[in-house]
Amino acid sequence: MVEHGDVRVVHKGGSKINFREPALSTDSRFLLCASGESVKVFSTATEECLHALQGHTDLITGVLLRPSNHLQAYSCSLDGTVRLWDFTDGILIRTYSIGYPIYELFQLVAVHLPQCGEQLVEAKELSAVLSNISSNPAASAFGREVRIFRCLEVYFFKNFFLKKDNQKGGKNTFTCITCHPTEDCIASGHEDGKIRLWRNFNHRKEYTYSTLHWHHSAVSSLRFTPEGTNLLSGGVESVLVQWRYNQESQRDFLPRLGGAITHISVSPDGALFCTSHSDNKITIIQSCVKVSAVIQGLVKGDRIRTDLMIEPRSKALVLNGKPGHLQFYSLQRDKLLYNLDIVQQEYIHESGLEQFEVVMAAFDASGSWLATVEERKQKAPELELNLKLWAFDDQKQSFVLNTTISAPHEGRITALCFPHVSDGQTTMLVSTSRDGHFKAWQLAAPGFIKFYLILKGPSWSCDFLGAYHSLVPECCCFSADSSLLAVGFQEVVTVWTPASWELLTTLSQPPGAVRDLCFGRLSCSKYLLGATTSRLLCCWNLLTCSLEWVTSMDVSLLLADPLSENMAAFCFEAGSTDLFVFKPGEPRPLFSHKALCSGRVTHAVFVPREVMLESCDEASQWLNCSHLYFLTQSMDLLTFITKAEEDKLTASSKQLVVSDDVAMTPFHLLLGKHRDQLENPQAESRLSVEPIRQPSSSAGINELLQMPAHVLPSASFLCSMFVQSLLISKEEEMESEKEEEDSDGEMESRISRPEHMPSGESGCAAPALTKEEVRELRRLKKLDHSWMKGLLD
């Protein structure tokens, strides 16, 4: 990543929220869930994302409430750090650097870290624990459960013992495990759908278990309620089962949760359950009877058939969602907007059943038309195809089915393309198929089909059927001004004019069939680029009808930025994918990134920015107009971010904390103003104070003010520091360390002194602090600092 300077690949938007078990805050108001490189704080009542805790530089692998302080949470990440957050305000309190990727956050870590000062020692102890477990496949499941017990070691050994014994027997391998909060009981879920309650395991041999069986396939998650009265289990059946502890024949069900349950978590007060589902969804359940909220992330099935698309109106990302649906996902708000039912048939949950799938979709330039192709393949000759055209309805603010064309082609449709008409209505659609034809579909005016059937509005019908030497067309592309249509017939690229459907010219670069075609944009619109199966990327000049340049690369995806002349080519090379961003007219690529991710990238999209970036750095200039999102083989949605942007983001998150320390919900926006008026005196006083402090640009004061009041140390403690910072200016280095000290020193001060001291007392306590004491305090801080620095290095 050295050569691409400050551009970094990040998870941003549309990342998995079901990756790890979410954490519910003690008061059940907030839900913390790991989502890519940030921890998202959701309101359990409104389903809104309040804010994201940003700071990690790699995938977050665990979120956990801090047991000793219910307003703080730990998160761990593959970047090798554990961070402590104040999640209500979104402030990073501390960073522990462990030094190697953390795959799962155990409570064990959380217990050990704050207890002693020297984190490095702790880290080593942790690693020993981890290496013990990792040999075990179900390790991550049980390691995190050990918290309640007093003799940790005993249980670890016992757990091992049980595993070894039982994993021999065929299908009863462990899938998950949990511990009873008060009693000596371990519940384990198994591959064959059984739940076993292990007891008496503190004796070496005489452990015993009882079996509960409801699930018909593997139990994927188990959790006891905080009092231990109930056991919750979930699996692929998407039913939450609640077992009464010690009355196991009684059980309650919450069915139809809509997706296989992957994690269950319970709020510490037991009021809320929350289940993560395989379709990237978190369901919040009130005491096992009612689904109170659903937080839906980007639905990612096992594979995506459609391309990634941008809906031109809402700038939402569109792709396959639930079976038979298209999902509209807002990347800006990181929220699922809605699902559009394309197939309009009931989905039958049965393995091996062939059902209609949305395989292709395309939007026209203005976003008023959507074309979808769905297919069902029972056997090779019995392919069922439907081409549907959807018109945007302004009243419903959604797409409405306009025309259904059943069996538009005899073979599978390989490409679907609308012309880029910037003004006025789109009236044309081109589809290519394996049957050797490409068809142009025309929006026809309303008319009579039969004497009694009067069509209400315009509908689509076939206008032109084109073929070329009975070759199979693989791809098609309209030029930027839609005056040309390029259709790739295996080795031959044919260029047609849509106005008269005349074959203008053919371009060819054998050997190897053309896989991807793309016209240049803006200043490069005279170029046509094609990627072939014989690992060539060709660029033709349409004015001369000759080959401009050829380069040898195995392009798996070729993409043009709609807002600039940039093009992105994802090349598959030696097991991983490289990205090249280039202009067709220029010989040198603007940007290249080797080994972006493993596997082929087959889906990517340029997402236009809302606000143009003004970066003059050459390497990141191509990101000025659009984001580039791409989907890896493991279905992770990744994007690129520049350094400047990142800085801005972290800065803005801090700004957010200062501006309001109350959670921003839509509800708050409605009611907040009203409340502000009620609390007017305080608000006014705060406002009146701030301008006075503004001129004094001391970093210490700023830091002081940015901190929410309830996390600050007592006023008596701050007073001397405050006064010192006002008076003395000779100790420059103090300001530099201030930032860390404040966040760092907060903990100790919190423990040593009562939190809320009446202001009167603080007034008389302040003079008690002599100069010597202040010096002593500073000396201590310096000690702290050097140690911290060593850690950060």
Binding site: T182, E183, D184, C185, R199, N200, N202, K205, E206, Y207, T208, Y209, S210, T211, H216, N246, E248, S249
Partner: protein
């Protein structure tokens, strides 16, 4: 191994009877099992679960409960009598009428001084256990409704009685009821039917555990008379309960065929208050589990499906040993089939009748493995119905097929058969010597001139049969060979081919050999710790071969009165581990006259020919190598082959006999045939049906 014409006999409709009650004597490791036909079987758990003794049943005896008192066995049943059994003579010693109608349960206190029985008329009757008999002592307070189950408190001061809809706790001193625990009825439609407390258990910490017909196992506090915990374990009945010796585990058998274990476990480590938690579920039965025993290491269960299942508790035994294997005892450890070698007749023994069959014939020749066409179907010649209530305990047919003898506990019957060109005539020998009145085992000599019977006095009766004077049949009592030093019943008899020797074995493990010419004891074999399961004398060499319950084999030379060299080398090298791991005993030994080195053995799952001329198998070599030997070259075959040639082609073998024309008779009883005769099990909802 040789090739044989095999008669594969499947027309023996042997049907074991359902298990009704069990009792385990921990000190002697003996399990008594009562069957539906009134028979009582004694299994020795210390000796590889060998079925030592069978007390034949009686048609009017329906045993409901069994009870051991210091090595004495008592039973009670719906006939209203308490029976004590004579375990040496294998017959009831005496019976005492309780005068309370049918008896449902019997239980002795832990001091073993009193026997409590629960009667139909609602009384709990106490019997004092005396040296030689029992004597009625008193009645406890009479209740309305029958007493179904009883359990003594280990101190002997209290007794809990399960009844209809309730449990009563009596003070054993005063005889008054102190508590009345009302048992809740089932929910829904079963609310109107009364609930039967099938089983109670009184623990030393004043806890009463009950199993009832509503499918509940309930735990009660006997001091306050309150319900502590309720476990619903089945939709049907909980029929039996059994408590482990240390009272930390309770098992409950249900009508679904499951056995559910409950364990008293501390909820957290180091705490005292134990809770009864449902833990494991064993499903080894298809039908009702009527009887349960919780030994220290295993759960023993039996029920309607006639199987006795020993399921070791894996936390109590060493893993992957023979002890940790599940055992199912399906068939008696004693042959019920007798074969007339010369005549080709088979005698099948049923509890109340005998069947004599003539084997089918086939003239066709075929390759090994071919199925020959049957020219003449097997034919049932005679069905001999036993008169009287007592069941047949043993039977024999003479090798020539002209004599048939059988015995009940009270009498011996001998018949003379004449088979001539399809005409069958049968004559009962009317006058038998009075010594032949109650025998345990019958055996004819090979020339059919003598009948040997092991009598109840631990002795062998030799009777000579007059072949010539068919009209005036008579038997003469000729000898009375007494068994020195033991009064245990003789369960095995075997006469040598040449008529010189008679070997007899008793359940103490003693094997004696008598000289039939001198009618004197010839020698006594060294006593082996395990009980012999089959003995036979070799026709030519005169060696005595014995197989034991722990799967050991010995060969003893009668001439030299010492173990043979082959037997010594077998003991030295040890038997193959797989051989020792078999769980059914050898029930029959036979010899091939044409190949003197061959010994035929069989158990329920395999048939083995031991070739004494070949080397013994090494422990690391494959024991079952018949298939491998077929594929390799003849030279290698010589190297690889070993003495044990095992055939597993026939399963659930009841008997194998070698006829004089060198054809094998294999009597099979496929398990599916037995299962098909069982009543249908309780209906259970199965997932996805």
């Amino acid at each position: 191994m040789g090739e044989f014409v095999v008669h594969r006999v499947r027309f023996f409709d042997y049907m074991p009877s359902a298990i009704r009650a069990m009792a385990f004597n921990g000190s002697t490791q003996r399990l008594a099992v009562a069957r539906g036909d009134g028979a009582v079987e004694i299994f020795n758990f210390a000796d590889n679960y060998f079925q030592e003794k069978v007390i034949p049943g009686r048609s009017d005896r329906a045993i409901e409960a069994l009870c051991w008192v210091r090595g004495r066995l008592f039973s009670a049943g719906l006939s209203g009598e308490i029976i004590e059994y004579d375990l040496e003579k294998l017959r009831p010693r005496y019976s005492v009428e309780a005068y309370g109608g049918p008896i449902w349960t019997i239980s002795s206190n832990s001091q073993e001084t009193l026997l409590g029985v629960g009667c139909e008329d609602g009384t709990v009757k106490m019997f004092e256990i005396l040296e030689e008999r029992i004597q009625f002592q008193r009645n406890l307070d009479r209740q309305k409704g029958r007493i179904i189950s009883l359990s003594w408190h280990p101190s002997g001061a209290q007794i809990a009685a399960g009844m209809i809809d309730m449990i009563r706790i009596f003070d054993a001193e005063t005889g008054h009821a102190t508590h009345r625990l009302l048992v809740e009825r089932g929910v829904g439609t079963t609310r109107n039917t009364e609930v039967v407390v099938w089983s109670v258990a009184f623990l030393s910490n004043d806890t009463v555990i009950s199993g009832d017909s509503a499918g509940k196992v309930q735990i009660w506090d006997a001091v306050t008379g309150t319900l502590i915990r309720n476990h619903l374990i089945t939709k049907w009945d909980v029929l039996g309960l059994a408590v482990s010796q240390d009272e930390s585990s309770v098992i409950a058998g249900t009508s679904e065929g499951t056995v559910v274990q409950f364990q008293a476990l501390a909820s957290t480590m180091g705490q005292e208050n134990n809770q009864w938690v449902r833990t494991r579920t064993f499903k080894n039965h298809t039908h009702d589990v009527r009887a349960l025993v919780h030994t220290d290491t295993a759960v023993v269960s039996g029920g309607m499906d006639t199987q006795l299942v020993v399921r070791p508790l894996l936390d109590k035994v060493e893993k992957n040993t023979q002890e940790s294997a599940l055992r199912k005892i399906l068939f008696p450890h004693k042959s019920l089939v007798c074969c007339a070698r010369k005549a080709g007749l088979l005698l099948f023994q049923f509890p109340d009748h005998l069947e004599l069959w003539r084997l089918g014939e086939s003239s066709a020749k075929g390759q090994a493995g071919d199925r020959l066409p049957v020219m003449k179907n097997p034919e049932k010649l005679i069905q001999l119905q036993n008169k009287g209530e007592d069941h047949i305990c043993c039977s024999a047919v003479s090798p020539c097929g002209s004599w048939v003898a059988f015995s009940t506990v009270s009498s011996v019957r001998l018949y003379k058969l004449q088979l001539s060109n399809g005409n069958i005539s049968i004559k009962k020998v009317s006058k038998l010597p009075k010594e032949l009145h109650s025998v345990h085992q019958l055996c004819f000599s090979s020339d059919s001139s003598r009948l040997f019977a092991s009598s109840a006095q631990a002795s062998v009766v030799v009777a000579s049969l007059d072949q010539l004077q068919c009209k005036h049949l008579h038997t003469a009592f000729s000898a009375f060979l007494s068994f020195p030093g033991s009064s245990q019943p003789i369960h095995l008899l075997s006469a040598s081919e040449n008529g010189n020797w008679l070997a007899a074995a008793n359940t103490d493990g003693q094997i004696h050999v008598f000289n039939l010419h001198k009618l004197k004891l010839h020698c006594t074999l060294p006593v082996y710790s395990s009980c012999p399961t089959a003995i036979a004398i070799h026709p030519t060499t005169g060696h005595l071969l014995s197989a034991h319950a722990d799967q050991q084999i010995f060969e003893f030379s009668l001439k030299l009165k010492e173990y043979t060299a082959w037997s010594r080398s077998l003991q030295r090298e040890g038997l193959h581990p797989l051989w020792l791991q078999r769980d059914t005993p050898i029930t029959h030994i036979a010899f091939n006259r044409n190949k003197p080195a061959h010994v035929f053995l069989h158990d329920a799952f395999m048939f083995c020919i031991i070739d004494q001329s070949l080397p013994l198998p090494q422990a690391r070599k494959k024991l079952y190598n018949q298939m491998d030997l077929k594929t390799i070259s003849p030279q290698k075959r010589m190297q690889e082959s070993h003495a044990f040639k095992i055939c597993k082609m026939f399963q659930h073998l009841l008997s194998i006999h070698l006829l004089d024309d060198s054809s094998l008779v294999v009597v099979e009883r496929p398990l599916a045939d037995i299962v098909s005769q069982l009543p249908p099990p309780v209906r259970q909802k199965k997932f996805a049906t």
